[in-house]
Every structure is written in C-alpha cells, then in structure tokens.
C-alpha cells in the first residue's frame, strides 16, 4: 500500500510516497511559489502521472490547510519527528529543522515529540536569512555555505535580517572578501540555532539536522562544532516532514 506525504513549506514543497510505510517509493521537491494551492495542484498532477493518486495522504508545513486531497493536516513538528524516526531511529535525540521561515528544535524520544521550540516571528537563524544574504552576495545558498569554509574573522552582529543585510552591504563596501562575509553569515545562523538548542537540550545530547540546509557539509561541521556534539544528517533529511506525513497517512490507513 502506498501512502503520500505533502510538506508545503514557505520556500519549497516536498513530496514523499512510501510503500507499506517502509520503502521510499518516490520523492521530489519544488519551489512553493506564491500560491500553496497551485503547488498542491502541481503535486496532485505529478501523483497522477506516477499513478499514486488516491493513496492516503497527509499534508504538513505552513501550507498544510491548502491541500484539498489530503485527509488530514498535521503540524510540521509532529511530522519532522516522525520522519526523523524513519531516517535516524527512535531516539532520544534533538532534531533541528532549519526551515525557510521557521527553525524548530524538537526533543524526540521513542519516535515521538517530547518537547519543542520554534523561533519567534523574526527570521534570524532561518533559511530565509541565508537566502537573503546569498542574494546580496550574488551566490546561491549552497555556494555561500561552501565559501564560508574558506573565510574567517567576520561577525555579523545584527539579528534582524534587514539590518544584517545592510551590515553585509557595508562589509562588501569595505572590501571584505566574499568568503569572510559568508563565514559571518553562517556563523550568525549557527549561533542563533545554538542558543535555541541550548534552551531545550542538555549539553552533548545527540543531534540530527533536517531541512533544506542539511545538504551542506559546512553547515553540519559548523553546527557540530558550536553545539559540541556531532550533528547527523541524511541526504533525505529535507524530506523528513513529507516522509513523516506519509508515515502518519500509512499508520492511520493500514489494515
């Protein structure tokens, strides 16, 4: 039996199809664009094309209420923890999800959420922050993360994205290298995430990263260093929410 998880995030929409709640049969990612309703329709078209339509479906992410063909909407907190179970085992560990507009810190044990924290309305320490700084530097976010590895010495003190952007522009003006500025940007994100992590987790707790930044080796390194504990991830970790949603859909429909 197939089950479908749709994770409509603020930046990207993720789709995961599971077979019998065990094998990942299909997964893909696309930009959410301006309308989560249109994105949901594009995903439905894709599901039909692949012959998965009609399978039980759970939606998550900030656009979760705009997926008319989902039987249920479940928050990304619960879905990430479920998906984390699929990717990293039942825990205990602390899951960090750096999303487009939210960063979530989730304490997972026995495959279930024990406690969680989210950033406030501000975008500091989120993917959006990184994206805006990458734009200012005329590179893509992945490239920014890799440039950061070769940089040092710059720190960006503003937590506010708008102020941080002017700080970056001043740095460019003063002739700082791209690498050094990139280092400052990543350092700022890692610091913000670390301070949230510290509010929920004891020192040295096992830690896993999900979300769009998990593909950057430098982010993993920088986070591990800052948190003082190795941060695990997986190439599929950006699909954790969608996989979790598909697992919930499977769990509620299996005979």
């Amino acid at each position: 039996m197939y089950s479908i998880g749709v994770d409509i995030g603020s930046t990207c929409a993720k789709l995961a199809v599971l077979e019998d709640g065990q094998e990942l049969a299909f997964h893909t990612v696309m930009p959410t664009g301006w309308s989560s309703g249109n994105t949901a329709q594009a995903i439905l078209d894709l599901l039909e094309e692949r012959g998965f339509q009609g399978a039980p479906c759970v939606a998550t992410g900030y656009g979760r209420r705009n997926v008319p063909y989902a039987q249920k909407a479940v928050t990304e907190i619960t879905c990430h923890a479920k998906g984390g179970g699929f990717l990293f085992g039942e825990g205990p560990y602390v899951l960090i999800d750096i999303g487009g507009q939210d960063t979530k810190i989730i304490a997972v044990s026995g495959g279930a959420v024990q406690d969680f924290l989210m950033n406030d309305k501000c975008s500091a320490g989120t993917g959006r922050f990184l994206e805006i700084m990458a734009n200012t530097l005329c590179v893509d976010p992945a490239r920014l993360c890799e440039l950061a590895r070769a940089g040092s010495g710059v720190s960006i003190s503003s937590m506010c994205t708008v102020f941080a952007e002017s700080e970056v522009i001043s740095l460019i003006g003063s002739g700082a290298s791209k690498e050094d500025i990139a280092f400052g940007v990543v350092d700022s994100i890692v610091n913000k995430v670390a301070s949230q992590y510290g509010r929920l987790a004891g020192p040295g707790s096992a830690c896993c990263l999900t979300g769009g930044l998990c593909e950057s080796p430098y982010i993993l390194e920088a986070l591990s260093k800052k948190l003082g504990t190795p941060v695990r991830s997986s190439p599929l970790a950006r699909y954790a929410g969608a996989i979790g949603a598909a697992l919930i859909a499977y769990g509620e429909n299996k005979r």
């Binding site: 990304e76 989210m118 309305k121």
Partner: protein, 384 residues
C-alpha cells in the same frame, strides 16, 4: 441630571458590551459615579461601599494601539498600550464615563502609564507591596486601603462605614464563590463548557453593574448547566485534551490562543489567570474584627508575577492541575510582559517536576502571529 453623548466608536462594540455602555450612561445620567479599574488587585469592596460602580478598563483591542504609540514605546505590553490608547483617543465609553481611575503599582509598564494617564484623567494609584512574605506587607497594604478609603470619601462626598464594607465583602464573596462554582464544573470529564465560552461569559459579567443580578445569573447558569449535563448534554466531545491556561490577562488574545486550542482537539478546562480561578478562590474573612485588614489580606493572596517570590502561583498551579485532571499547561504571555515572561522558566521547571507537558506562547494584539501560534498550539496538542 445631565446628558451624555456616546463616543463615535460605540457602534463597533459587540451587543453585550453596548448594553453595558448604555447602563453606564444611565448610571451617570442618574447622578451616579463610575470608577475605572485595571486589575484584580483593585479592592472593589471599597468602591462598592462608597456607592460607586467599578468597571474594568483593561484594553483588549489592537485598535487604539497606534494612538498609544504616540506616547508609549512600541515594545510594550499590548494591554497597557491598548488601555492607554482608549483613554487618550477617547474611544472607550467606560474610560470616558469614569469619574476616577484606580490603578496599583503592579508591573512597571502599568505604573508609569498611570502617570501619563493622570495627565488626562483623575487617576489614583494604590501602592501594592510586592514581597508578601515580609511582616510589614499586610500592614502597608491595609494602610493603602485606609488611604484609598479617605480618597473615595472625599472625592464622592460619602462616608464609607465598616458595615458597608462588610456588606460589600459578603456580596463580593458570594459572587466569587458563584464564579468558582461555575468554573469548577469544568472538572467534569468531558467538561460542560468550551473554555472560550466560559471565558467570554466571565469577562462579560464585569460590565453588568448590578452585582445582585450578576450573582443570580451565575447561580442560574451553573444550575442550568449541571441539569443539562446530568440529562446527558455533552457540548464538548469526550477525549479532548484538557488544558490549563496560566499567565497574563488574555482577553485580547483569546481568538488566537484559546479558540485555536479548541479548534485543534483541546479544551481549556481551567483558567488560572486574572479572570479565572486565581482571584476567585480567595475570600474575605467577613467575620474578622477589622474588616479593612481582612480585605487587604484577601488581595495579598493573589499569585501574580509582580510578587517576588511568587510562591502562591507555584502552590496553586499543581493543585489545579490535579483537581482539573489536566493533560497540558499553556502559559500565555503578552509581548514584553517582564514579570510573566521571566517567571516562565520557573513555571516550566514546575511543569517538568509534576510531569505535565508545557507550552509557552508570546502574543500581541495583532493578527500577524496567528499562523505561528496555530502551528505551536496544534503541535503541542498532537504531542499530548
């Protein structure tokens, strides 16, 4: 007798509150007096005994905040900004009708706001002691009530007798007991009330002006709910997660907190905060020899975060969690409320100790955080 005109924004208020405004206007037209209040620490018994009608002026709406921000900092508690904004823009009929506004030295934001408010209205501020464990706290607070008594006597040209204070205390006690009785129906499983309805009802009672009628209404309603429940009525489905709400006054953020809880599989069974159990449980000892001291004593039992240490909140919360069989504790705080947001950490430690899941939320009066609050609340309920 003089005629009063209603402010232009009158039309925008809900029916129940509009009726309250008309009653307030009738009181004024008949030569009566109204005292605006902001807090559960206001000793209403004294105002009642002076023959003056107290009414709550706590601002619960975003609307007057821009007007307030001309004088107040942006990063301040929305309740303070809203309350001040209503006064400064002359848009709240109750503020408009108030002959006297009574405040207390509770949080820093409020007490400095009262100074500004004093420039446009007649404001009297009682000095509330904040370390109730000190021997002199009761003496000091009783002294404040004594002073307040003469202020009222002079302002309204009345004599406040001990008999009148005792009588007022008996009636206020009865109302508090009736409120407690109604709120404690929520101990039933499933409860007979949605938390949202309960809160709105309790909130609305404050605008009736006729305390005997309020008492009767509470008794009738409690009896009716009990009868309906015993006859099998179950307006709240079984199996909902039972939530206790604690923290700041939440009248201005009900829709994006309590309502969201109840739309996502929860039901608020207990409000520990200002309009809930915290102020209603403790009664005045009406038999006491010195009635003023007895009234003072009763107010010092309110476990507000302006007290340090606030041991009474720490003692009450576990009791309520047990009595109401709660599945989760929701600490709802208003933006920039220092007493409650700093105390949050200790409430979290307490929740961990008694093994009840805990979620803290910060909210202002805008709609901009609705999506994020909804995700947090829904995730919390999924976790339970």
């Amino acid at each position: 007798m003089c005629a009063y005109t209603l402010p232009p924004q009158f039309e925008t208020f809900t029916q129940a509150r509009r009726e309250g405004f008309l009653k307030a206007m009738a009181i004024k037209e008949a030569g009566g007096h109204i005292a605006g209040t902001f807090c559960t620490f206001t000793p209403c018994e004294l105002i009642d005994a002076a023959g003056v009608h107290p009414v709550s002026l706590c601002g619960m709406s975003q609307e007057p905040i821009p007007a307030a921000e001309r004088d107040l900092p942006k990063n301040l508690c929305p309740l303070i900004k809203s309350s001040y904004g209503f006064a400064v823009s002359d848009t709240c009929p109750y503020t408009y009708f108030s002959d006297l506004i009574v405040g207390e030295t509770t949080c820093d934001g409020k007490k400095k706001m009262y100074e500004l408010l004093g420039q446009i209205k007649d404001v009297y501020v009682l000095q509330l002691p904040q370390g109730i464990q000190r021997e002199q706290a009761l003496e000091q607070w009783t002294g404040e009530l004594r002073r307040f008594r003469s202020v009222l006597e002079e302002k309204f040209q009345v004599t406040i007798t001990d008999e009148a204070l005792r009588e007022a205390s008996i009636l206020r006690n009865q109302i508090r007991q009736a409120q407690t009785g109604l709120m404690e129906l929520q101990k039933l499983d499933p409860p007979p009330f949605s938390g949202l309805d309960l809160y709105r009802l309790l909130d609305g009672l404050g605008f009736s002006f006729d305390l005997h009628a309020t008492l009767q209404k509470l008794a009738d309603l409690t009896a009716q709910l009990r009868r309906d429940y015993d006859a099998g009525a179950r307006p709240v489905p079984a199996g909902r997660k039972r939530i206790l709400v604690t923290g700041c006054p939440i009248g201005g953020v009900l829709e994006k907190t309590v309502k969201v809880v109840e739309e996502n599989g929860g039901v608020v069974v207990c409000f520990e905060n200002c309009s809930g159990i915290k102020p209603s449980r403790y009664l005045v000892d009406t038999q006491a020899e010195d009635i003023l001291t007895a009234i003072a004593q009763r107010y010092l039992r309110i476990g507000c975060a302006v007290m340090t240490p606030n041991t009474q909140r720490m003692e009450l919360l576990p009791q309520l969690a047990e009595e109401f069989q709660v599945d989760g504790i929701l600490d709802i705080e208003l933006q920039a409320c220092h007493p409650y947001t700093v105390e949050r950490c200790m409430i979290k430690q307490l929740a961990d100790r008694i093994g009840i899941p805990f979620l803290a939320l910060d909210a202002d009066y805008s709609q901009s955080d609705l999506g994020q609050l909804t995700t947090r609340i829904a995730a919390f309920l999924e976790m339970l």
